[in-house]
Symmetry: C2
């Protein structure tokens, strides 16, 4: 059952699809294999270089898109125009709605090499059609969430604000704001993320606003008049010290915050704190926002900083803009199948996945084609997401994000401490993969 | 005048906007500075590390979005819900349509550090609102186009196919396919790029199709039956040599192509060519597709390869997923303005831009706040894009892409040969920046 979000339905995502999926469906319809019951799994062969864990994100967006994944007249006309004119294919697509089952890791869950984060059970034709969309959503959103989680660790308890919209595709920006909030970012600059997902939005002013005015004081006066004394004033357009003095003169010691967007931030923040305190603005926060990544955030741990604004490095996955998840056929009519290719982790057959714990701390990821003898601390990682094409427990997009955020917080707390090292290392949990069951 | 594309209009892009743009507008409306006439410029302070030139892309997409950048009832309600309740602001937004002028580099044009690729002249309030959308579109699309252009050079005249949709956000994938085609990619796997921009689409089958069948031969037979003998068969699911033999047995020597998606490609391609020739399939093409980037493509120059499929590295900008363009206020009521910040290339005032040539080869980029004494070989880089809010010379999205592609081919041909080195280096043209005119 679809939840009414009150929003205009998005255009059909059916053509966010690689052409080869349709040519495969056409050929399979012709030779009678299209209906073979298949299991496809999504997993990553490895984590981005040196990362200790990955964060699965995007599942909620995929489930939002699924009911709209239909081929209407417009889509069918577009296919014909691109030379996909096979009548059997087009008739089949016209009737298509996904009617299979999907299990997966809960959104916000951690993943490791080989973790089966999504399992699609359907006829070949139905299952293969979802390949590109599923991978686009999960690869992008997981890349952002995985990078953002490291920034949250580096920031300790100080709030992080996502402000990278301008550095990525305009729709990817909305998904990035969502993924960042999922792992603990407090807010985003992106208004569309506020609309779609109820991500708290924030923002005050840019250098342009100061430059628009005859002098800095007029700009500060205008901002305080419009947004109140609790606003954050950007003090580095001309001279930081002078900017801070003017800011406190204009807003008084109740000034909410100042923002530093350039220069040597540890030094500047220390000097700014001293000056603010000197001026009696002891409660005024210092927010920094200049090309930060997790390392720069960690480097500011000892500086008197009250919040971080993160842009470019967040929306580009801090060196890993995608996470290399693949969508593989692992079972056909009950028979495990796998490409025979050296050096690749390819175990055929539908997997189950369990995270093992000792004293509440995660110790291993068990991924097996057979049953696992459960221990008391084990946690089953695969949860039902779709049955017979219908979303299980449908919730609004905002509620799905809220649930994923809560889940992520909980599962991350169970990781061993070495997971949060920023230095390059091995995945913090070993994935135990087996063709057979495990005890 | 908007061109009717026959497509459902996209949802309003008005909220692809950072919140601070609206708080600035609110404050400027309150203190009477909102109507000050402003010039904003988009430029990049530098090229991604080691790149010789950049390719501007996205202008056409920005012009597509501009007429839809309106605040309807849904958008205004969403702003209110996010706490943006200032009545003067909301009234102003309800009436907003962009009414200013925009000049810019033609899409597909090359750019260098400081090149003013977009110039927006409007009231402060109107101009500042476009900041995030303009940067999102130009930063993303230019990153892809700039990386893709290097792949085209590395491939010499061999065709490149874009197939990276699964490795990036689903909407970014469409823009990436468009940007790749702009700089010379022959085709894309992305069906939506075919629909929106008439990018030629291509695709045949994946390993899943072979694994679906009882054996490789049945899969090849099904594909040839559905797609004809000119199709491309994926021969590396089990054993490449056996795969090639089976492929030629099934399709005959008229087989269109084989695809290799794993292994040591130079060796495999050489052996595949020998075997194909031995089997009489001398016209059968060899397409390779395994995690290629510009360096891997160059490394295959001596191998008997007929085409490259490029995915991950293309859609992630091959190490530079964004290009760092900024949107800066440079003039207010005729007065040049600039942030006083060390180490940043910030020249106030509206710029003109000219590419200088000698014997038909580009020699320098002149960016000046004053007039340039033109030489016969000079080419003005700024062209009118929008006047009074209306697109100049509106064309369909597909036609805009076709024109940009032709323009890019022409201007790239004028670069000196060292521009096409893949190794890291300095920008191949010096940008001559001046506050005054140049002779």
């Amino acid at each position: 059952m679809a939840v009414d979000t009150g929003l205009t339905p998005p255009p059909s995502p059916a053509l966010f699809t690689d052409r080869y999926e349709l040519t495969m469906v056409a050929a399979a319809l012709a030779d009678g294999t299209a209906d073979r019951q298949c299991v496809f799994e999504v997993f990553a062969r490895r984590l981005p270089h040196g990362r200790r864990y990955g964060v699965l994100a995007g599942t909620g967006r995929l489930l939002e898109a699924l009911p709209h994944f239909r081929f209407g007249d417009d889509e069918l006309a577009a296919l014909r125009e691109q030379g996909l004119t096979d009548a059997r294919l087009l008739d089949w697509l016209a009737d298509f709605r996904f009617s299979g089952d999907i299990d997966g890791y809960a959104e916000g869950e951690l993943y490791f090499p080989g973790s089966p984060v999504l399992t699609v059970r359907a006829s070949f034709a139905e299952g293969v059609l979802l390949e590109t969309l599923a991978l686009s959503v999960l690869n992008h959103d997981s890349a952002i969430a995985s990078a953002a989680a490291r920034m949250i660790s580096a920031a300790c308890e100080r709030p992080c604000i996502e402000m990278g919209s301008r550095r990525t595709h305009e729709e990817a920006a909305v998904a990035a704001a969502r993924a960042a909030h999922l792992v603990g970012f407090a807010a985003s600059s992106n208004l569309e993320a506020g609309r779609r997902y109820a991500v708290p939005t924030t923002g005050t002013s840019a250098h342009a606003f100061t430059l628009l005015h005859d002098d800095e004081r007029s700009a500060f006066e205008a901002q305080v008049a419009a947004l109140g004394k609790d606003t954050t004033l950007l003090v580095d357009t001309y001279d930081v010290e002078e900017g801070i003095r003017t800011a406190v003169e204009v807003a008084g010691p109740e000034l909410g915050g100042i923002r530093l967007d350039s220069g040597d931030l540890p030094t500047l923040a220390t000097r700014a704190r001293e000056l603010l305190d000197e001026l009696g603005a002891t409660g005024t926060r210092i927010v920094v926002t200049s090309d930060l990544d997790e390392y720069a955030i960690a480097g500011l741990a000892a500086a008197p900083v009250d919040g971080y604004g993160v842009g470019t490095s967040l929306v580009t996955g801090s060196g890993a803009p995608t996470v290399g998840m693949v969508y593989k056929l692992v079972e056909r009519d009950g028979v495990p199948v796998a490409k025979r290719s050296e050096g690749k982790l390819s175990v055929g057959g539908r997997k189950s996945a369990v995270r093992r714990h000792r004293d509440g701390v995660s110790t291993a990821e068990l991924v097996t084609a057979g049953p696992v003898a459960a221990r008391p601390d084990d946690r089953d990682l695969l949860v039902p997401l779709v049955r017979g094409g219908e979303t299980c427990d449908p919730v609004s997009p905002a509620e799905a994000l809220r649930l994923a955020r809560a889940h992520h917080e909980q599962v991350r707390a169970a990781l061993p401490p070495e997971a949060f090292a920023l230095s390059r290392g091995e995945p913090v949990l070993d994935t135990v993969t087996a063709r057979e069951g495990l005890r």
